[in-house]
Amino acid sequence: MNRTLSVKHLLGIKDLTKEDIELIFSQADEFKEVLNRPIKKVPSLRDVTIANLFFENSTRTRLSFELAEKRLSADIVNFSASTSSVKKGETLVDTVNNILAMKVDMVVMRHSAPGSCLFLSKHIDAAIVNAGDGTHEHPTQALLDAYSIREKLGSLKGKKVAIIGDITHSRVALSNIYCLKKLGAEVMVCGPSTMIPKHIQSLGVKVEHSLRNALEWCDVANMLRIQLERQEVSVPYFPSLREYSMQYGLTKEILEGLSKKVVVMHPGPINRGVEITSEVADHTQSIILEQVENGVAIRMAVIYLLAQTRRTEKEVV
């Protein structure tokens, strides 16, 4: 098996091959074993400096990346800023110049603007890991989701995955669709018709507006967070959280009333009682905490493999 990725950056799942994804998974398997040792650390990236640039609030993803970087013994610098507090755009270009001066090898970036990681990759000589560029891609989340399904169900091939909730404003839906499809799963998106982008069928997914139908169809239900803060419109996409929950909230009764055992996922943070109830979040069919655990292993794998690619390139030069 080829042990290098076909890409220099992880900008999105769209650019990855199936082999890339499988390589990341097998590398994550190794790191997951490391994470269960008493000393959870390897010296692989002692020569690598990573900048974590978070232009948007994120607790989990940032922690997960930081932990992954520390477990690999990389040097890290953290930068957080809100895009709203400074004049939009200027920050990124200015920050880019600062990063160049600091001679970092890799940048992990979260930013609200779709395409911003691609933009950055065109301006700086560092490997870029997209930690979510708005409603475009969030590749490590999609990888850890698929990895968690693989762990639970053995393989993705032929499995039916329903992504349920606010698809339009989700930072993970698109990456999830690409990743699952590349691994041979069938994908359905389900949610209010105001929150499903038109033309999404062009990605080869089914569209459903009934939660029950979606649940009866799927093996795995990925319940997305309702992003109330992303509704920058004068007429909101649904009247109230209460009514949303009435139609799309997953309760224990619904889950246990299904004809088969559906695996429940959630990328976090959960609005308990809105998209899923507490009972469902903590249910035996839920793999929400496994997702978090796997997130570190997946991010270690991605960072490690990109660093390898970068080293090889430098040697060639």
């Binding site: 200027e90 603007a113 779709p114 395409g115 933009f119 708005g134 698109l174 033309h199 920058e232």
Partner: protein, 410 residues
Amino acid sequence: MKILLKSATIIDIHSTLHNKKRDILIDKGEIIKIGTNLIDAKAKEVKANSLCISPGWVDMKAKIPDPGFEYKDTVQSSLDAALKGGFKYVVAMPDTDPVIDNKSQVEYLLSRSKSHAVRILPSGALSQGMQGKLLAEMYDMHQHGAILFSDNKKSVGTEMMTRALEYAQNFNGLIGSFPFDTGVNPGGMVNESNISVQMGLKGLSSSSEEIRLQRDIELLKYTKGRMHVMLISTEGSVELIRKAKKAGLHITCGIAAHQLAFMDKDVADFDSNLKVLPPFRQSQDIKALIKGLKDGIIDVICSDHEPEDHEHKALEFEYANYGISSIQTAAHVAFSVLNKEMSVDQIVEKISTNPAKILGIEYPVVREGQKGPWTIFSLGTEQSFGISGWKSLSRNSPFIEKSFPIEVIS
């Protein structure tokens, strides 16, 4: 200075020599003699493959952001760019700072361009400050040279549009409409399609254009005014205009030349130089636009010149301003895309006689004793513009260094 065009094809539907090849002697812009085998020792001879002459081209929609945004383009730089692009008349949009909503602003533009070879035709705002609340003094602006009234790309409410269409009839004023309803797809910035889905961006549907166009057509029918729809981009819009024309309304319409050159899929890698409004659409839309041009449904090809400085364009796609600095290349792009689809005189009509007629300006006809301006070009030579030959102060263009099958000589 005297020049002698050797064997130039005359492209001017109003000339008795339309599509004929002649030698033409021009002195300080005035046509002295038209004939064959002319010789004049004092004149500079101009020879070129497929040399052509037509009345000076008219760009019916350009943003000249002076005053207010002189770092993007000044009157001088805009007109220099226009001249390179073959345009001799430019309709300037009113969204300067301050807005062109009174006669002083109109006079400012006219005075700044007085000594230039390119004439500015100022347009005035419909509403005071382009705020959409009170009518601007359209009559006064009209008296001082404003030639069209619009709030450019700002959404105009139904009451304001109705009032403007009615009011402008007092002096046979022309209202410019930009059909774009922001309510259909709030936050949209690229064509709504599989591409917007892949980019994770909200899309702008064709409905967001066509709903507003239908409204404006309906208001035109009701008020019996005169309207020029400045930019359309969709197949459906072409059909709406076709029907409106058939119903006998005083309606004309235009497209930006670059609308023919790109599709939504070209924007997929977030190149902010391709962020335009209306957005680039799909192949069936471009086909319909070309058919509309051929059928005479679309009257005008304009530049929709929107210069943007580096700080407003070299940004994440979402934050970058809309627009292309296009006045230097619009005609070139039109010829490049359309040369296999339409005849030279059909293309030239869209950038000369048609806009001149819609605007009702005094316009030259190629004949002896007539003063210009003229546009002289060659269809047998290629031309491209590098940074050194780029006249606009803004470089937000996908056409820099691109080669075109036409050369503008003067």
